[in-house]
C-alpha cells in the first residue's frame, strides 16, 4: 500500500516539476521573443509617428504618441520614385530566380543522374564557389564589368540589354552575377534532391527511347517541384535582399533596387529617422509577406541545403 502511495506522490511531484519547468520555459521564450520582435515593432512605431511630435516631446522617442498617421509613408512615397525601385528589384530578381533554377536544375540533373569523369569535382567547384565571400572577387569583377571591348556588342541582344556598352550599371550585369553565384547553392541542393529519386525512372524512359532533354523535362522536373518551390522562395528573398552587388555594380541611383536605393536616400535626402523607418518598413514588406505566406517552403529550402552535407 505504502509503495503505491509513494509512487503516486512521486508522479504528482514529477508532474508538478515538469509543469513548473514548462512555465519557466514559456517565460524565457516570451521575454526573448519580445526582445527579438522589439526592433521591428519599434521601426513600425517610429514610421507612424510624426517627427515634429517626437521633437517637442520632452521624453523624445521614449514616449507614447499623441497622434499616429501614415504621413511619413506618403512623404517618402511621393518624394522618391519608390515604385521605380520596386520595379528595378523585380526586373533583377524575377529573371535571376528563373534563370538560376533553370540552369541549376539542368546541372544537377546531369551531375546526379549520369556518371562521368570528374562530376564530383564539378559539383565541388560550384558548391565551394558559392561559399566564397563576394568581396574576394569584387575587385577584378568590377574591372571586368567596366570593360568595353569589340566583342561585346557582337553578342546577340547585347545592345538591347546594355545602354552603355558594358555590363556595369546594367540590370543584365546584376542578373548575371546573381544567377552565377546562386547556381552553386541550388545545384548542390537539387543534385542531393535528385539523388533520392529512383534511377529506374530515368533508365526506363531512356530504354523507351526518350532523349536526355525529354527525361529532364518530363520526368525529373515535375518530380522536383517541391524542391524548386522551396528554392524559389529562398532565392527570391536572397536576391531581393542583396545589397553588396547592387551597391558595387550600379552607379545610377535610379537603377538601383530598393535595398541599395535606401542606402542612397538615407545618406543624402532623408531628414529624420521617422522617414528612414517608413522607407525601411516599405522595403521589408515584400520579403515578410513572402515569408509569412510561404513559410513552409522557405524553411524547407534552407533545410534541404543542410540536411545532407
Amino acid at each position: 500500500m505504502s509503495a503505491t502511495v509513494m509512487a503516486g506522490q512521486r508522479t504528482t511531484r514529477n508532474r508538478a516539476r515538469r509543469r513548473l519547468s514548462r512555465a519557466g520555459l514559456h517565460i524565457f521564450l516570451s521575454v526573448l521573443a519580445f526582445i527579438f520582435a522589439w526592433p521591428m515593432l519599434y521601426a513600425v512605431y517610429m514610421s507612424l509617428r510624426p517627427y515634429g511630435e517626437i521633437v517637442i516631446n520632452p521624453n523624445g522617442p521614449f514616449s507614447l504618441p499623441s497622434t499616429l498617421n501614415l504621413d511619413n509613408y506618403t512623404t517618402v512615397w511621393n518624394g522618391y520614385p519608390f515604385l521605380g525601385y520596386y520595379w528595378n528589384t523585380a526586373v533583377i530578381t524575377i529573371p535571376a530566380v528563373i534563370l538560376t533554377l533553370w540552369i541549376s536544375s539542368m546541372l544537377a540533373f546531369a551531375i546526379s543522374k549520369y556518371s562521368w569523369r570528374l562530376n564530383l569535382l564539378v559539383l565541388m567547384l560550384f558548391t565551394a564557389g558559392n561559399l566564397l565571400p563576394p568581396q574576394v572577387i569584387i575587385v577584378p569583377l568590377y574591372r571586368l564589368y567596366n570593360l568595353t571591348f569589340a566583342g561585346l556588342p557582337a553578342i546577340p541582344l547585347f545592345a538591347q540589354l546594355s545602354d552603355n556598352g558594358r555590363v556595369y550599371d546594367q540590370f543584365v550585369g546584376l542578373i548575371l552575377i546573381h544567377t552565377t553565384f546562386q547556381t552553386g547553392f541550388c545545384t548542390f541542393v537539387l543534385s542531393n534532391y535528385m539523388k533520392t529519386l529512383s534511377k529506374e525512372l530515368v533508365e526506363a524512359a531512356m530504354i523507351d527511347g526518350a532523349g536526355v532533354l525529354a527525361v529532364y523535362r518530363r520526368i525529373i522536373l515535375p518530380l522536383c517541384t517541391p524542391a524548386l518551390a522551396a528554392l524559389a522562395t529562398l532565392l527570391f528573398t536572397w536576391i531581393y535582399n542583396d545589397f553588396f552587388w547592387a551597391l558595387m555594380l550600379f552607379k545610377t541611383g535610379d537603377k538601383r533596387p530598393i535595398t541599395a536605393a535606401l542606402n542612397n536616400l538615407s545618406g543624402q535626402f532623408f531628414t529624420d529617422p521617422t522617414q528612414v523607418a517608413a522607407a525601411s518598413v516599405m522595403a521589408a514588406i515584400p520579403t515578410i509577406v513572402v515569408f509569412l505566406a510561404l513559410q513552409r517552403y522557405f524553411v524547407s529550402g534552407l533545410t534541404l541545403g543542410s540536411a545532407k552535407g
Partner: protein, 335 residues
C-alpha cells in the same frame, strides 16, 4: 571542358556518382545515350561551368595575381612582389584592427549567437503550445536584408540628439545623464581598456548581426533535431538519462552532419560581414572589416587595385579553411 569525356557518360546508380571518379570501370556498360544526348549533357554542364569558372574562380585567381602588382587601373601593371603584403602587415594602420574585428565577429557568433540558436532550437523542439509563433518571431529577422538590419538597429543605437531609442530610454529612466549617453555606433574607443584594438561600436554592430544569425541557426538546427530518430531519445530516457545528458551524449553526436553545416555557415557569415557596417558609416572609425577595406581601397574611395587585392587574398585564404572543412564533409558523405 576536358572532364566531359563522352565515353564515360552512362546512366549510373546514384551511389556510384561519387565513386565513379576514381574507380576503374571493369565492365563497359551498354550506353543508352545517343551522340545527341551526350552533346546535350555536355552543353548543360559545359556552359554554366564555363561562366561559373570565369566569373567566380577566375576572378578569385585574378585577385591573387593582382595582389602582387601595384596596378591603379590607369598605369600599366607593374609587378611589385610582396610589397603590398609588407605594407599591409606593417605600416597600413587598418589591417590589424580589421582582422581583429572579423575575429571578434566570429568569436561572438561562435560563442554566443550560434549556441543561442541551438538552445532555442532545442527549446522549441519539444511539443509545446505556441512553438510555431515563437519560431516565426525568432526567424523573421532572417528574411530581412542585412542592410535593413542596419537601418532598423540604427533607430535603436542612434545618439540621444538623433532620437535613438536606447539612449532616450536610458536617460528618461534616469540610468544615465543626458551628457553621458553613449554614442553606440560612433564611439570607437577601445572597449574595457583592452590593449587589443576592439572598438565599442563594432560590438554594437555585431550584436545587431547576432539578432539575425540566431534565428538562422535556430531553423537549421530545428530541422536537424526533427530528423533525429525518436527511438534514440526513448532509449536514453529508459536508461535514466535526463534531458541535458540526452542532448549532449545522444542527440548532439548524431547531429554531426548538421553541426558541420552550422559551423561552416557561422564562419562564412562572419567573414562575409559587410552590409551592416557599411550602412552605419561605410566601415570606418572603428568599424573596419576586411571586406570593407577591400572595397574602400579598390572601388569606392581609392583605386588601389593591387593593394585591395592583397586584402582580398587574406580574406580568401581564411575563407578556404571553412570551405575545405565543408568539402571534406561532402566528399565523405558521397562515399
Amino acid at each position: 571542358m576536358s572532364q566531359l569525356e563522352p565515353e564515360a557518360l552512362t546512366p549510373a546508380p546514384a551511389a556510384v556518382v561519387g565513386a565513379g571518379v576514381s574507380k576503374p570501370r571493369k565492365r563497359r556498360r551498354y550506353s543508352l545515350l545517343t551522340r545527341r544526348d551526350k552533346l546535350v549533357l555536355a552543353l548543360m554542364v559545359g556552359i554554366p561551368l564555363a561562366i561559373f569558372l570565369a566569373l567566380i574562380w577566375g576572378m578569385a585567381l585574378v585577385s591573387v595575381g593582382l595582389a602582387f602588382t601595384n596596378w591603379d587601373g590607369v598605369q600599366p601593371i607593374k609587378f611589385v612582389g610582396l610589397d603590398n603584403f609588407t605594407q599591409l602587415f606593417t605600416t597600413y594602420p587598418f589591417f590589424w584592427p580589421a582582422l581583429a574585428h572579423n575575429v571578434l565577429w566570429l568569436l561572438v557568433f561562435v560563442g554566443f549567437a550560434t549556441p543561442m540558436g541551438i538552445l532555442l532550437a532545442v527549446c522549441l523542439d519539444r511539443q509545446m503550445r505556441g512553438s510555431r509563433i515563437y519560431q516565426t518571431i525568432f526567424f523573421t529577422p532572417v528574411v530581412l536584408s542585412l542592410a535593413l538590419v542596419g537601418f532598423i538597429w540604427e533607430l535603436q543605437y542612434a545618439p540621444l540628439a538623433a532620437n535613438g531609442f536606447i539612449d532616450s530610454a536610458l536617460v528618461n529612466m534616469h540610468l544615465v545623464g543626458a551628457a553621458d549617453a553613449p554614442d553606440w555606433l560612433g564611439d570607437s574607443s577601445t572597449v574595457f581598456g583592452l590593449p587589443f584594438p576592439i572598438s565599442q561600436n563594432i560590438l554594437a554592430a555585431i550584436l545587431a548581426a547576432c539578432w539575425r544569425h540566431i534565428g538562422y541557426i535556430m531553423v537549421l538546427y530545428l530541422a536537424g533535431l526533427k530528423s533525429v530518430d525518436p527511438s534514440l531519445r526513448e532509449a536514453a530516457a529508459i536508461d535514466g538519462a535526463n534531458e541535458r545528458q540526452t542532448f549532449f551524449h545522444v542527440v548532439f553526436p548524431v547531429m554531426a552532419p548538421i553541426n558541420v553545416v552550422i559551423v561552416v555557415v557561422t564562419v562564412i557569415e562572419a567573414l562575409r560581414a559587410f552590409d551592416i557596417v557599411y550602412i552605419i558609416n561605410k566601415g570606418k572609425f572603428g568599424l573596419e572589416l576586411l571586406s570593407t577595406l577591400i572595397t574602400n581601397n579598390s572601388i569606392s574611395e581609392a583605386s588601389l587595385l593591387g593593394f585591395g587585392s592583397a586584402i582580398a587574398v587574406v580574406l580568401l585564404t581564411i575563407s578556404l579553411v571553412p570551405i575545405g572543412i565543408y568539402l571534406t564533409r561532402v566528399m565523405r558523405s558521397e562515399d
